[in-house]
């Protein structure tokens, strides 16, 4: 899938590209004019839009982009983070909104969710070892048996599956699980408890070797 990153901070655009390139084809536009030019040449699937652009109000660009590419998924990325921006942005047809600083993992997971919803390209069930994970129905099963996980346990597992083969730190995981309210650093100790529970529940059915511990860092789902 093609992603157009509209971001005037060059280093930031580079880092986003570096992270997403394994799953997406990324292009970068440093200002609104370049973005419009690029979109007129051909639409992209994802538009990652920074609202603080030098040459045009980001929300204005959002309107223009919607006209040119009605089907693109648009995610607003902004350091302004003002509530009205969020409401206006979603009203103008943005699919999601991420305030800076955001985690690249979080960005990718939002993109996955939108892709699933909007393009229905990915199959909802993912094979994880001997288990089937259904993200839409929020369940994991072994053959035909549903395994009961708590809400947080399921969130944690599906997040790790989504970012399979990447080492994920406890901090990154807790940031996703407990969100803005929590104290990710403090909560990261509790990730271990959840992982232990997940392992215990799943290993009753089959091996969970794919859920590996990385010393000093955290965990990784190897698939």
């Amino acid at each position: 899938m093609k992603v157009l990153i509209v971001e005037d901070e060059q280093i930031m655009a580079q880092e986003m590209t570096a992270f997403l390139k394994s799953a997406y084809t990324c292009e970068v536009a440093g200002n609104a004019a370049a973005a419009i030019n690029r979109l007129e040449e051909g639409c992209c699937d994802f538009l990652l839009l920074d609202l603080g652009l030098p040459d045009m109000d980001g929300l204005q660009l959002l309107k223009e982009a919607r006209k040119i590419c009605p089907d693109a998924a648009i995610i607003i990325l902004t350091a302004r983070g003002q509530l009205e921006d969020r409401i206006k942005g979603l009203d103008l047809g943005a699919d999601d909104y991420l305030p800076k600083p955001f985690s690249l993992l979080e960005l990718q997971s939002r993109m996955h969710a939108i892709a699933r919803r909007k393009f229905a390209l990915q199959t909802a069930t993912i094979q994880v070892g001997d288990f089937h994970l259904d993200i839409q129905k929020r369940c994991i099963c072994f053959q035909t048996t549903d395994i009961t996980l708590s809400r947080k346990e399921f969130d944690l597992l599906s997040y790790m599956v989504l970012h399979k083969n990447r080492p994920l730190s406890r901090l990154q995981l807790s940031e996703h699980i407990w969100g803005d309210y929590g104290d990710a650093d403090y909560d990261s100790n509790f990730i271990d408890v959840h992982i232990k529970n997940i392992r215990k529940k799943l290993s009753a059915y089959s091996t969970v070797e794919w859920l590996t511990t990385i010393r000093n860092v955290g965990y990784k789902v190897k698939l």
């Binding site: 930031m12 800076k100 993992l105 080492p167 901090l171 940031e175 990710a184």
Partner: protein, 443 residues
């Protein structure tokens, strides 16, 4: 006590004191005047008699007799001429008793010795004592009436005048100071007064309030701008570190260093986030339109924090009725506020401790009480716990103590009063008082 009341009391009491003094002295004064006038009258009579004797000789009175005496009809006055028995002693006036036709009466008597026809005579002109003071009582009464009327009139005029004079002061207090919450609203036109002091006071107050508003506005702008400017480099750092970690080809030591850097960055992020949140709330950037069922909300928060309560084996007791719905709040902010309070109740609790959440409803207020069995705080700390970045003696692990600042900001934003009581070693109790009246009033 209000200035107006003080002045009223002073004016009334001081006039009453003057009146009382006057009433005490009045009988003596009037008597004094009456006697002085009487003496003057006796002297006048004496002059008349002496003139008659000089012109017509003493025989006009004596008519051959040795002495002479005459009374008016009711024995009010008398005159007598008798041969003198003693030496000349000048004029005297004294109050003496005289027996007149068997009645003993008190007279005010003028005595004068005169020489006529080669003989010394003693002349007495007397006036009855009761006649002298017969007008004292009516005079006194009249004087009292006049005095009373005068004092009443002056009290009334004084009060009306001070009232008029102090009116601008009352208006300054009402419009500028009474219930004036920070940040101050746009101040109305200057208070209309000709008193220079009040003009000065009013102008100074308005100038001060505007100055504070400007300073506050600047601080708000700075916080907001600084936070935004900080977000971009923080984002870049975070992304770089994430990419580093995602690389997967790092040695163990490098990996754990990156983890530690991410943790530090997370701390920075959290501070900037909190500052931005406070600044946005103070900027009134959040709507207050949600109806919040606190019972549900508290359960959500407790569920969100379950892993922490479980780790400390805390007993969380929630005693809230399901029916209470508070209006015109911002659900997200109220969630954050209760989250922070419960988070502290857990953080500073002891293992196997408890948290008790209960409520209390009056006609105009709803109290939400969060009670913990934590380490508590000394009384000296209680005042400062809501200040930004204030370190507390026992909370050295807390680091960036912004949690309670956020609580305070959210509470102020919703007109919620926070009360804290704490005993070191026993625990703390936070009470949130929601003002139901203001909710209804703005509905």
């Amino acid at each position: 006590m209000q200035l107006q009341v003080k002045l009223t009391l002073f004016i009334t009491l001081s006039k009453m004191a003057v009146a009382a003094l006057f009433i005490l002295l009045l009988p003596r004064l009037i008597e004094d005047i009456a006697f002085k006038y009487n003496d003057y009258y006796l002297h006048e009579q004496e002059k008349k008699v002496l003139l008659a004797i000089r012109n017509n000789g003493i025989e006009t009175y004596l008519q051959g007799e040795d002495n002479y005496g005459s009374y008016t009809m009711l024995k009010e006055e008398y005159i007598s001429l008798e041969p003198a028995t003693s030496h000349y002693a000048g004029d005297t006036i004294e109050t003496v008793k005289r027996i007149v036709e068997k009645d003993t009466l008190t007279y005010r008597v003028l005595s004068h010795q005169l020489h006529a026809n080669g003989k010394d005579y003693m002349m007495e002109i007397g006036r009855k004592y009761t006649t002298i003071s017969q007008y004292n009582r009516p005079l006194q009464r009249m004087a009292l009436y006049v005095l009373g009327a005068l004092i009443s009139i002056t009290i009334i005029t004084d009060l009306v005048f001070t009232r008029y004079l102090l009116k601008p002061l009352g208006k300054i207090i009402r419009t500028r100071l009474f219930r004036s919450n920070f940040p101050f609203k746009e101040q109305g036109p200057p208070v209309n007064t000709t008193t220079a002091d009040f003009k000065y006071l009013d102008n100074s107050l308005v100038a001060l309030m505007n100055q504070i508003n400007v300073a506050f506005e600047k601080e708000r702008e700075f916080t907001s701008n600084a936070s935004h400017e900080l977000m971009t480099p923080v984002s870049i750092l975070q992304h770089k570190l994430e990419n580093f970690l995602a690389d997967g080809n790092l040695e163990d030591e490098a990996q754990s260093k990156i983890i530690s850097m991410m943790s530090t960055l997370n701390r920075l992020k959290k501070i900037v986030h909190s500052l931005l949140l406070i600044s946005r709330i103070e900027n009134e950037q959040f709507p207050r339109q949600d109806n919040v069922r606190l019972n549900t909300l508290v359960h959500q928060v407790v569920e969100e924090l379950e892993h922490r309560t479980a780790a400390k084996n805390l007993d969380v007791k929630i005693e809230l009725t399901a029916t209470v719905v508070l209006r015109q709040l911002n659900q997200d902010l109220i969630f954050q506020m209760i989250y922070n309070l419960l988070n502290n109740a857990i953080k500073f609790n002891t293992t196997n401790g408890s948290i008790h959440i209960k409520e209390y409803l009056t006609r105009d207020t709803y109290h939400l009480i969060i009670q913990d069995t934590g380490i508590g705080m000394p009384a000296a700390d209680l005042e400062n716990i809501f200040h930004r970045f204030r370190k507390h003696s026992h909370r050295n692990n807390d680091g960036y103590g912004l949690g309670l600042s956020i609580v305070k900001t959210i509470a102020d934003f919703h007109d919620i009063l926070i009360k804290v009581s704490s005993t070191p070693g026993e625990g703390s109790t936070f009470t949130l008082v929601f003002n139901l009246r203001s909710q209804k009033a703005s509905a």
